[in-house]
């Protein structure tokens, strides 16, 4: 019996019991009231009260059994767990019905049950974060047991190539020192693509935001804003296709026109397309920030005789700077973690260069390549993906924290 069928059977067994519990609980309360006894809560609340007594212990037993068998402490037969849970449900039902007395505050008890249920749901978000950190750190640790942190951080050669032989149990065929895990070329590629993306997105995004918030009429704004936001709803795989099929040949042609030699997996075109993707993030965040600057600042500047653009450059933008920086950092964090565009349009060859027309590879590309092949899960190459993921997670997390901090400071200043 699979875990799915067991769960299904358990729920199928508990559902009618739940209905029964509700009916009986409510019935008993109604009977009591009819007999002239004044009850604390409404009848249906006693109904729900007995449902809780029936269901909670039974589900608790099933959950505990599931957790214990996952941890490998004991592994009871699923049929046994099912039987015990249903038995516990029956006992709980009997107890719940007996507990229906005038002085029992079913309503308050229900409120508490609901409160704890909701709190449990909210804790899942924390558990997700802990799971991310633990799972990535744990696998990354296994990687760093084989490769020194120093080599990973400062090494300039990334050549995990031969580790698949090790994974295939042919480790002795690998010559000592043929795998290199120096991540510098990957991070160089990631920073290059991020720099190109931000160089594209920041001017277009910021200037569009200035137009929309300072110059545009209400009607122009109500068209421009949603149109720009279409860009935010386009899946990254589509941008990747656009970069690889359309932008790269254009870039190569233009480079050729100027007598330059561009690779067909150059880092420039994914950078530009990534910039296009980030435009709406910059424009709508900056637009919000510029709009929230008090009108009095503008009026003060006008009163001193400044033109509109002087007001913008000398008053509005300095005031909006924390918000704009925060939008910029969020954009950077998006660009660092962006995967599909670079997987489809950038190269796979680690290459340390300053020339954006050459092919470079990035951190995310290597995570994808390490995890999509037929690698054993504990091969160094797979584990290296987790080490890269750990760095990526840490960097983006810090960018986000700084960015939210800046926004909060900005809001405190003007709200």
């Amino acid at each position: 019996m699979g875990i799915g069928t067991t769960t299904l059977l358990l729920l199928l067994a508990l559902a009618p019991l739940g209905l029964l519990a509700f009916r009986l609980g409510r019935g008993k309360a109604i009977a009591n009231m009819a007999a002239g006894i004044s009850m604390h809560s409404r009848p249906q609340q006693y109904g729900w009260y007995s449902v809780v007594w029936m269901g909670m212990p039974a589900l608790g037993v099933a959950l505990a059994a599931a957790v214990l068998s996952l941890l490998g402490v004991i592994s009871p037969a699923r049929e046994l767990v099912l039987l015990v849970s249903v038995a516990v449900a029956a006992i709980g039902l009997a107890h719940g019905l007996r507990a229906i007395r005038p002085e029992v505050r079913a309503r308050n008890a229900l409120d508490n049950v609901v409160r704890y249920l909701l709190m449990g749901a909210a804790l899942i978000s924390i558990m997700t974060t802990i799971a991310i950190v633990l799972s990535i750190v744990f696998e990354a640790m296994r990687f760093f047991r084989e490769v020194s942190v120093w080599e990973f951080v400062t090494g300039t050669v990334w050549a995990p190539g031969d580790t698949f032989l090790e994974a295939a149990g042919r480790g002795d065929e690998v010559e000592e020192g043929t795998s290199f895990f120096g991540s510098v070329p990957l991070f160089a590629g990631t920073f290059m693509v991020t720099a190109i993306a931000m160089a594209t997105a920041l001017p277009i995004g910021l200037l569009s935001a200035i137009f929309m918030s300072e110059y545009a009429t209400r009607a122009q704004r109500s068209i421009a804003k949603p149109v720009l936001e279409i860009l935010a709803g386009i899946p990254t795989v589509v941008y990747g296709f656009f970069a690889a099929i359309t932008v790269t040949p254009i870039v190569v042609d233009i480079a050729e026109f100027f007598g330059l030699d561009a690779s067909y997996s150059n880092i420039l075109s994914p950078g530009i397309v990534m910039g296009i993707m980030i435009i709406p993030f910059i424009s709508s965040l900056s637009d919000d920030v510029i709009n929230s600057i008090p009108q009095s600042l503008r009026e003060g500047a006008y009163a001193l005789g400044t033109t509109h653009s002087e007001t913008i450059k000398q008053v509005i933008l300095p005031a909006a700077l924390p918000g704009v920086i925060s939008a910029f950092l969020l954009g950077v964090s998006r660009a660092l973690g962006e995967t599909m565009i670079v997987v489809m349009a950038a190269g796979v060859r680690p290459n340390l260069t300053w020339n954006p027309l050459e092919d470079m590879t990035t951190v995310t590309v290597n995570i994808v390549y390490a995890l999509t092949g037929d690698q054993a899960f504990d091969s160094p190459m797979t584990l290296a993906a987790f080490a890269l993921g750990l760095v990526l997670f840490t960097v983006t997390l810090m960018l986000n924290l700084v960015s939210t901090y800046l926004v909060r400071r900005f809001k405190q200043k003007y709200d």
Partner: protein
Amino acid sequence: MQRRLTGSADDPRIRSRYRTESRFKAYTITALFVAFAIILAFFADIITQGYSAFWRSEIQVTLDYNERAERVGQFALQEELREVVSRGAVRSIPLEIRNNPELAGSTREVWVPVYSRVDQYLKGNEELDPELAPIVDRLAEEDRIRNVFNWAFFTSGDSKLPEMAGIFSAAVGSILVLFVTLMFAFPIGVMSAIYLEEFAPDNKLTQLIEVNINNLAAVPSIIFGLLGLAVFINTFGVPRSSALVGGLTLGLMTLPIIIISTRAALRSVPDPIRLGAFAMGCSRWQVVRDHVLPLSLPGILTGTIIGLAQAMGETAPLIIVGMIAYIPDAPTSIFDSATVLPAQVFTWASEPRKAFVEKTGAGIMVLLAILLTLNAAAVFLRRRFERRW
């Protein structure tokens, strides 16, 4: 001589300031137009790449169910047509004859799809073998080739033969994955939001949860893929490539989006409604269930649709959990290996054959149509049910 007033319109300094002013305004307008031009070019490009995949060429052939065709379907065709007709169209003839023995020896006239390179040639995308091209030209002149709407693109799954490949199995995969995502993220997201907005005391734990949720929303999606791989597949043994693991991974990713938008919806319900309900003697849960939730439902649904649209377009985490498998037949349960629309687009995009480029474009058009519809539905919901208090 009278001194010109400073600040008058012909003061050269003023004029230069005005020029700066109009130049700056022109920059901002240019930026916006560049963005618009990019959007236009983008859609025009995708449509020109992809629209031709919605049509396909079919050829009229006489299938001859002879003895050799019982073993290899190709022999049911006249010799000169064997290179023109799609192999996929005659692949199943031996099986057909085995299932219906009375077919043997008979002939039948049918329209079948042509070989992908011939199709590309007829669409003007690609050159064809010099031996094959005259045959195709002659057949076209004899009106034995027609161009019809490619329904098969919507009704068949992936195939190694471009003329047979369709998005059906990927679409089913997407629906299954989104179903799992919704089942996981919607209840937990809404419950968390209710807790944080209506029940939680303002203490350290609550603040920790809040910071957490905001940061989770900005974690790169590929990190969720690593999480799904390490936790769901390696620790809990959920089958790799299944809609279940994809849905759970995307569920974790969608969770913060749903929580944040649900909280905004709950916050927009004014306090007097809560106070009125409390004054009537409702418990906190009754206030939330009977008054706050119904009023904020449109906002919650809007946020959920936006979150799902985002999940639907996501590829990177799904690749990490193995959802780029070759799936010719639609999955029937959430435990089967499956692929999703964007992953299918990715698979086709990495195919070198020209015929797959138009498939990729067409797949993207379908994906974008679905996503734009979802987002439009969200906007409509918000406009229709938004209440100003």
